[in-house]
Symmetry: C2
Subunit: 210 residues, 2 copies
């Protein structure tokens, strides 16, 4: 297909398609004549994946490249691809305090979780505990037991749709897309559940919402 059709079907502007190609995120199309390039269904699929990671998942261009490279690397076990996806989207700019890290790792160990101290989730979550402290709101960490239960339920659902064995490329893409987009999906559902529980607490017999 021409770049105009690729743009229309993917929802990505022609300028962005050219930019992604220059940046090595999208393979170049096939030159079929002067000023004409042909793109395949594979290009379309890759563009949709890129759009999901960057627009819906909030990944930077650099992180998207890391993740795509991991998906494309046939020598990489799926488990490691998941780790790379986790790292790319962790987004913790600075390391968390040793106290908050230790607190989380202890809570995880008490539940029998096998978590490596380098897991990017540890700094991500511990950084939030540090913010609570800075704000003088250590009481917000009282939600941790409930969050830990929920995180385990989410991860179990994740694993349910991520075959760790089987076709590597599909499994790797599942791990990446599921992890990146799943955060946003859960965040949306959380807001729905918050409204339900808050409105029920305030007005047990009322309708949904004011």
């Amino acid at each position: 297909m021409r770049i105009s059709e690729l743009s229309q079907r993917s929802g990505v502007s022609m300028a962005s398609i050219k930019y992604y190609t220059r940046e090595g995120l999208l393979p170049a199309g096939e030159r079929t004549g002067y000023n004409q390039t042909d793109y395949s269904e594979q290009h379309l699929a890759r563009l949709r994946l890129l759009r999901a990671l960057i627009e819906a998942g909030g990944l930077t261009i650099a992180h998207a490249r890391t993740v795509l490279t991991a998906i494309d690397d046939d020598s990489l076990p799926v488990y490691d691809t998941l780790g790379i996806a986790q790292g790319a989207i962790a987004g913790a700019d600075s390391p968390a305090s040793p106290e908050s890290r230790a607190r989380l790792l202890e809570l995880a160990a008490a539940r029998g979780w096998r978590v490596h101290p380098n897991n990017p989730g540890v700094d991500l979550a511990a950084g939030i505990l540090d913010r609570y402290s800075e704000l003088g709101r250590d009481d917000l960490a009282d939600a941790l037991p409930g969050y830990l239960d929920a995180a385990e339920a989410i991860a179990a659902a994740d694993l349910g749709v991520t075959p760790l064995a089987g076709d590597r490329a599909t499994a790797a893409e599942t791990a990446v897309v599921g992890t990146v987009l799943g955060d946003t999906l859960v965040a949306g559902l959380r807001r729905m559940a918050q409204q339900h529980l808050a409105s029920t607490a305030l007005d047990p017999n009322g309708d949904a919402c004011p």
Copy 2:
């Protein structure tokens, strides 16, 4: 305190402090002499809140202003402040498809959730279902039942630390901070739980991690 001390204690650069003041996100300090301005503990608390919302929570300046205005508005019930916080961080740029919205609202109704169709979480979550479809990965939505369970557990933990009655300013701040930062906290815990479950599935008797 002087602006240099405010900067050091808050971890926000002097340039950013001046910018936030110009943008109306931080009240001006008290002029105490030529080229000298005095800042209070209230300024420090507000700056830390701003930093948490913008740096850790990823809010834009415009969204942070909306949320702070809601916290400061004494006439606004806490429940409405929560709604404004939800809206500011929802981040769904474009509305989701009617099909995905209907699917989620039906799932919520089947659980007895009271959710208003305007709840910003609906578009946020439904937009992700649309992305799954675009990617030809509708199978990822099989994780929805587990995510819905988890979302209810998260919201219950949220409500546990958010007093809907009592001091309005504290409750409003709790709702905002808990919602903005809680997403990231849960995302971090999810990565830890993923590693635990994945490594246990691959190697039931092994140590944490390769």
